[in-house]
Amino acid sequence: MVIQILLLSGLVLFSILAILLKDLLKAALSLAVASLFLGIIFFRLGAPYAGVFEISVVAGLITVLFALTVALTRKDSEVQEARLTKLVFPLFFVIFLIIDGLVMKGLLQQVPALPAGPETGTFGEVLWKARTFDLVAQLGVILAGVLAVLALFRKKEEDKDE
């Protein structure tokens, strides 16, 4: 329990760092560390496959994509953030923390839930047999993403024509 709370705090801490750090590469890396924490939390909650996906895909692949983008857009791309933003953030964060705590505690007393029986079968069966439509939709999303990247990085035809 204590370890879990520590991991969760680490997750939040590194996410905040990812947002506050000025250097984009460092920000992307702390995002990856946050993903790592999340992956471990998943594993400890009994979701090893999701944990592996979180670590390999989000902490790995997405960080690589971020680093690539940062590298491609590095040249004179300094963006001056408003200083107030970062100074005020802790204040808002603490206020939200208190509200969050109170709301969650308030909800805690009155949440009915249906008792759920333990699941049967293995993860593979659930994914392939119970959630088959999700796999179709995943294919759709991947197709959309690939086509989107193709469309955005195409050579312009008009330039040749005119």
Binding site: L24, Y49, A82, A116, L127, A130
Partner: protein, 102 residues
């Protein structure tokens, strides 16, 4: 058990708040997208925690994996957009994009 559920909801609410705050106030396009990533971490935490607490971790796991795939697709599209914007404007500042006013 539902005690635990609210613990995880508490933390993911923090993540989502952080992301939205950044989305509303920051100016760097890549930073904005990091904010989106933080929000989506909060969401996937909720998914897995819900599954773990409610004894349907297998279903939740397949949801989380699907969500991660969607995320990758979104990240690819968004970063392609950012690179294109940078090529056009030579800047990553939101303020340089003020041609459109909602």
């Amino acid at each position: 058990m539902s005690n635990l559920w609210f613990l995880y909801l508490f933390f993911s609410a923090l993540l989502i708040f952080t992301g939205i705050y950044c989305l509303l106030t920051m100016r760097n396009l890549i930073k904005l997208f990091i904010a989106v990533e933080v929000i989506s971490k909060g969401v996937s935490l909720v998914i897995i925690a819900t599954g773990a607490v409610k004894n349907s971790i297998l279903l939740a796991q397949s949801m989380a994996i699907t969500y991660i795939v969607v995320e990758v697709s979104l990240v690819a599209t968004a970063l392609a957009l950012i690179i294109n914007i940078y090529k056009k404007n030579k800047s990553l500042d939101v303020r340089s994009l003020s041609k459109l006013k909602g």
